[in-house]
Symmetry: C2
Subunit: 868 residues, 2 copies
């Protein structure tokens, strides 16, 4: 039989699995001779035995608890259940990591009608004793007996009303005694049994309540969602009570060893004299800053400072501590790793390294890469009231406010006048690009984390909330309605928090983002330790410049179609689509070629010799044609067609499932002249730069390949065009031709395709869509239910689905490298900027990841972490 | 060095790889001492060496040809190029299988200005000699020199005009001599070189022309499309000429050893006296039936009959033979396996087995299962003129004619009046089910072989042409327009051939289908030899009865949603979808439950104890709502909603990619009450039948599962409902709960899912859509280009893609059986009725295939063939 109960000091911080996080740290502090009220921890193993044993205590536990209780009585020189000097304890749950839905705390356990008299006698304070008893009965009834709090509050309020008391504090000892009596009557009436007076029984019930709370529905669903093993179990901590509310030489406080908000190396916290921990939280009295304790109780303060220094050195990290002073004696109640803002995390990591407390690797490893996103986007000013009227998916981080508009044209008009606008749409389409450009933020009712709105907004670094099914957008009536019936009309001001998905009525001030020196330092350390190269997805010279500034070492995805959506270019694109003959089409393509060549020159130049992967035209052609009657009429007139004729063409191009339609390399098979034009533009731009002495590394990427034959036919065409230009210009330029891997079949046939392709780049958005059969534009309708039911642990469009999509990725890398051992493989889907996904990609041996320019810093950190 | 040239008789029918099909059979007949004009075959190896060697003859070939030519001269007692008794030869290509695009034949080779005199002298027939020479020059110029025929025809016509001749036959020897002279002048003017007079040079050029024809674009593309190895090469047959046009004791004919149309065991063919083979084909004179030869040339006929009996016994199959009689002597020019109709194939297979010529296995093996489809559907009367105005995909076989209608309502109205109608739509949706029911055939402009129209039509056994991009449908104007500009208005009569995809203007009579006794016999033999069980996809009791009659041993797929589309039920379904609360929804579901229970009773009863797999609701809910303004108005009024409100609901349910949207088990997670209703209906129906003493084996199938968790949650729900009913009714019923495998991810996680699922059934339609990323409704736009370019060898929706989708299937079966070695696995997608796919499914160890009722017989044959 394993040891069931650890008296504080018998375990250590290494025992978090067995003693839970809280228990392990209490044991560790005791070992360090830091003053901790004595107590003991019942192991997680016991919890599991209890649960498997149909809620019965395992053999030996009764004795072990009794024995440890004896040691506790001896240490405290008090009697558990004793009438004279009663020992009171707290009982707390404590799993390996802290987890909502589980039992929190029962304080003052051991009190009953007899022992309360001893407490009063010992403390010489009747009101203190009666209040402790009242609090205990109420807390025990709620937490252990599972009773509703409402009736207890009513009893207390009735008493206050009766004696004309305003605050709880105005009640006398006698009042409180009466309240306890009333509580007990209510309990007996409600439960059909009296309140348990026996301290031993109280303790056993409280311990069982902790064990049982492991399996509350909320705790189970939390574990399911977070992928936490249901077999961990929780430990139970039983600890002697100390009181911060014993009078003017008592007090309680919480503190951080450094500033958790800024990261400054300065002891930071607050305290209240003559108070218990819950009073600090309740906010009735305003706590004092921790420095003031130096004046009030210099000895205790000095001891506290020594302890915090010891703890930080020992744990080599910023600690979040709780303490209580009982009649001048300091007790530590908790220490744990302190939560921190992204800014603080960065500063502390750098400064602790400089102080020699940790090394660079440790500094990098402890960062939460996802959290760092905060530093790269504006955020809402904290502590500012806000009326949240709806919640959607946090599709693109940052915060912004503006007047609501419902169409792209209005957005552009108002935007041009300098007005801040938020574009609200059911969903966006390529028609909305211009409006999105002028909007400060985008809100859509449908679409997932990788819907058109989300992807484009992230590319533009604008905040975006997508899939906000709480609202119904009525563009015609120029309003949207929330599920609670609130109507928001065009011109009303709203604020979006793209980091949380909150839609807020009115204006909330925002704080600008900036990359500080500490962050730059960490990024340089990250590059020293990463194996994966980080590239960026960039479609314009401007994006490419931003990406380069953020440290991207190449472009992983340049989506050429985004260039065609610009208002000066879309007419030429339409001319090409509506061409009646190949000749007419080539004429339009010639015009586009001039523009594209210029684009590529800019992009290649910005990347300064780093490789640039250009994806050839991908979307179905109907995306470039108008869908509204008025727009169709305009285009028809211009193209010399009747409205009906053009409408027919548009309808004939429309697809039932455009995602699975005539797009990507399928267009190239039907219209090789498009591929040829794009190849000419890429190679010509590269030659121009090379001639001017610049280094340039173009990589031409064929999208949506599912068969070797597609790749063979198209790449042959590309090489023919490229070789012709190189021969004409007598240029000696190196270029690659590879493929995007986004069709499940391509993963299955990777071995064949790798024989001919110079590189693979996973398009994990589409690969996820097809592997799951989820349309990213429609999945919003059920993905919420799926996350809630625990069917999905996370949105697979946000973080790669390792067990499904990941299997295909592995299979593909393995198959591809079988034919071409040195095959360069990267990822350019949205997952390229997600730390968990980056860790996976590192593990399967990819060469690079590519993400939005504003995610590059995070990807650099994550790439280093993956390698450490 | 391998033997380069085989003198006829040196090779055998086993040498088809080396000597080509034609050459191998000529060698074989010579071996059998059947009179064949002597000759020799140059091997396919030589052809490949020639092509690899940049069109130069390999070493030794010159000598080998010379030597064999000598043997030929000796055998024929003639001289090649001799002035007195010149040897003339034919030169023919002959690959392993016959292939369009390759050189066919040069006859009379060896003639020139000198040898023609010898031919005239030898035959004593100047006109015959001059005509042979004229034909040779013309044929050689066309086939070997690659010249256009037009000028030659003009020269001939000019001469006819000059001498007032009506027919070629009216030209005299002198006229023909002049024509040859004019031909030669034209050749020299056109090619800048004289016509080659040297017979040796003629022969070499002709042999090279055969070799070169292996690589004509048409031949290459034919091989690519049919997956024929480009390295086979062609053989060349050089054979002594014999003449059927030497006079009244000469003749030529073609015959089959049995009737190729009916299969009757009777010598069948036709002949022409004093004619060459090409005259039979040209159709200027009408050939006589072969029996008449018995009167005209009894000895030759007797010999011919003996030969055909020998050949059929030797080859153990019906032969297609060609013969020529020269001056009373019979020569066989060819024998090969005779092409036959499906009906004939069946009759011959059965009768040859009964005759003891072959055994049952051989009878089954030689059937072309795909071809048998003809027997199960009406077909167009042959030899009937037809005006084909468009071609589409042969989506559902059979033939039918009727008046064109453009909407479901009109189809129903006219159909009820007893009028034959053809429903013409851009594409069909579930709204069209009723119209499809009343139509004789369906024609759609878009959609592939597994589009809605195609799948439903096949299920209804109606002929359907889908993806007919040759037409543009204008439903409003009540007409369609073909690509050639022909307008077809509502009420005009058209005929569809669903087996070929032809759209025909006007009425063409059709022939009914019937299962004859021979086919039944073969099917019973097939069942003896198959391992795969054949089930049917059937949605109604009527379908189930048909399927059972066709020999289905169970239902592999009962699509419950098809029941909901019936006009009496769709309003209840709409009521369910528009319900404001769970209560309202349950009320509507209760009504549906009564109907469904009745359906299932009928289906289970029809299947007589065989297993019945019922798939729970699969399509997205918006499919059940109207989309036309008028229909929306009607429903809004009924549902007590405003038009706008209902329109909003419909729009909010609409999806960008419905294929990848909120459907299948995703609906069950959102609306478990639907699953519960359907489970109640299934189990109650089964209990009712079991109580009445019938055997019943329901299998409940959850569609679109991609994760174990989906299956776990839903199957738990199903079991709970089922167990409750069984307990209430004290019934002891066995039922299974399994899943459809149609999401790539399910294949990757099969090992997990198989731990809980009782069976797997591949939905290969959706699996193909997602593995390739092809929407079956949209792929029509590029799949034609893909087949043409050889990117796809065949439509992957028709025959399973073994290398991609097949890999996933294998992976899934392997993974699933790892956890559950006895896991029952079937397929219920459209591929379940395709012979090639069935062969694959047999190979990977599936337990059953399921297909449309009318495909069951074919599947039974294919299942046997796969096992043989």
């Amino acid at each position: 039989m394993n040891k069931q109960v650890y008296f504080f000091g018998e375990g250590s911080k290494a025992d978090a699995d067995l003693l839970g996080g809280k228990g392990a740290n209490l044991n560790e502090m005791t070992r360090l001779k830091i003053p901790v009220p004595p107590g003991f921890t019942i192991t997680t193993e016991v919890c599991n035995e209890y649960l498997e044993n149909r809620n019965r205590w395992p053999k030996g536990l009764e004795e072990a608890v009794k024995e440890n209780l004896k040691r506790l009585e001896k240490a405290m020189k008090k009697d558990f259940g004793g009438k004279k000097s009663p020992l009171l304890v707290s009982v707390r749950s404590g799993a390996k990591i802290s987890m909502p839905g589980m039992m929190d705390t029962v304080l003052n356990l051991g009190l009953n009608d007899e022992t309360v008299e001893g407490l009063i006698a010992g403390s010489g304070n009747a009101r203190f004793g009666r209040d402790a008893y009242r609090r205990f009965v109420q807390m025990f009834s709620n937490v252990v007996l599972g009773m509703d709090m409402e009736a207890f509050d009513e009893i207390l309020d009735a008493k206050k009303h009766e004696v004309h008391a305003k605050l709880d504090n105005d009640l006398t000892a006698e009042d409180l005694k009466a309240v306890v009596g009333a509580y007990k009557k209510h309990i007996e009436r409600h439960l059909g049994m009296p309140f348990p007076e026996n301290p031993g029984k109280q303790l056993k019930m409280a311990i069982n309540a902790v064990f049982d709370s492991w399996n509350t529905p909320r705790a189970i669903s939390y574990r399911t969602i977070h992928g936490i093993d249901h077999h961990w179990g929780t430990a139970v901590n039983v600890q002697a009570m100390v009181f911060g509310n014993m009078g003017q030489t008592s007090g309680t406080g919480v503190a951080f060893t450094r500033n958790p908000s800024t990261g400054e190396r300065k002891f930071y916290g607050e305290f209240l004299m003559n108070a218990q921990g819950e009073d600090v939280v309740a906010g009735i009295r305003t706590p004092e800053p921790i420095e003031k304790l130096a004046n009030i109780m210099p000895a205790a303060y000095k001891e506290l400072v020594e302890i915090y220094e010891t703890l930080e050195k020992h744990y080599k990290d910023m600690q979040d501590i709780e303490f209580t002073i009982e009649n001048g004696t300091l007790y530590m109640l908790q220490t744990r790793r302190g939560k921190r803002t992204a800014r603080a995390a960065v500063r502390m990591a750098v400064e602790m390294t400089e102080e020699g407390l940790i090394d660079k690797k440790a500094a990098l490893k402890r960062l939460d890469a996802s959290q760092l996103d905060q530093l790269l986007h504006p955020s809402l000013a904290p502590n500012h009231g806000k009326t949240v009227i709806a919640r959607g998916l946090p599709a693109s981080p940052g915060a912004a406010g503006g007047k609501v508009v419902f169409d792209s044209k209005t957005a552009a008009e108002m935007g041009l006048k300098g007005e801040k606008v938020i574009l609200v749409r059911k969903e966006t389409s390529p028609d909305d690009i211009e409006g999105m450009h002028f909007a400060k933020g985008i809100l859509t009712a449908t679409g997932g984390m990788t819907s058109h709105a989300a992807v484009v907004a992230r590319g533009m670094n604008k905040c975006c909330i997508s899939g906000c099914s709480d609202i119904v957008v009525n563009g015609k009536a120029r309003k949207f309605v929330t599920c609670e019936g609130r109507e928001v009309h065009e011109g009303e001001f709203i604020t979006l928090d793209g980091t949380t998905g909150e839609v807020i009525l009115g204006e909330v001030p925002t704080i600008k983002a900036e990359l500080d020196g500490n962050f730059e330092t960490l990024l340089s350390w990250a590059d020293e330790h990463a194996r994966l190269v980080v590239r960026a997805n960039a479609d314009t010279p401007k994006d490419a410049e931003t990406a380069f500034r953020f440290g991207a070492r190449g472009i992983g995805l340049c989506r050429t179609e985004h260039m065609f959506f610009e208002s000066s270019r879309i007419p030429v694109m339409q001319e090409m689509i509506l061409a009646n003959s190949k000749e007419e089409r080539v004429k339009a393509l010639d015009k586009l070629e001039v523009m594209q060549t210029e684009d590529f020159r800019g992009i290649f130049k910005a990347m300064n010799g780093n490789p640039c992967t250009v994806r050839l035209l991908d979307p179905p052609l109907h995306e470039f044609l108008p869908h509204k009657q008025a727009d169709i009429e305009v285009l028809a007139a211009k193209a010399g067609l009747t409205y009906e004729k053009l409408k027919d063409i548009i309808v004939s191009l429309t697809e039932v499932n455009p995602m699975l339609g005539h797009r990507g390399c399928r267009l190239m098979i039907t219209y090789p002249e498009i591929t040829e034009m794009q190849t000419r533009a890429i190679i010509t731009a590269a030659c121009d730069l090379a001639k001017a002495g610049a280094e340039v590394n173009p990589e031409i990427m064929i999208p949506l390949v599912g068969t070797l034959e597609e790749f063979t036919i198209i790449s042959k065409d590309i090489h023919a065009v490229a070789q012709r230009i190189l021969a004409e210009r007598k240029a000696d330029l190196k270029y690659k031709v590879g493929t995007m891997i986004e069709i499940p079949r391509a993963c299955l046939r990777a071995k064949d395709i790798a024989r001919q392709a110079d590189f693979f780049s996973f398009g994990t958005n589409d690969l996820t869509q097809m592997t799951f059969g989820y349309s990213r534009d429609d999945a919003g309708k059920f993905i919420g239910d799926y996350l809630e039911a625990g069917i999905l642990k996370h949105d697979p469009f946000v973080s790669i689905d390792v067990k499904g999509v990941g299997e295909l990725v592995k299979m593909c890398v393995h198959g591809g490298r079988k034919s071409a051992p040195k095959l360069k493989v990267g990822v350019c889907g949205e997952h390229g900027g997600d730390p968990d996904s980056i860790n996976f990609f590192h593990g399967v041996g990819l060469n690079y990841v590519s993400c939005s320019p504003y995610r590059v810093p995070i990807a650099r950190i994550a790439a280093a972490q993956a390698n450490l």
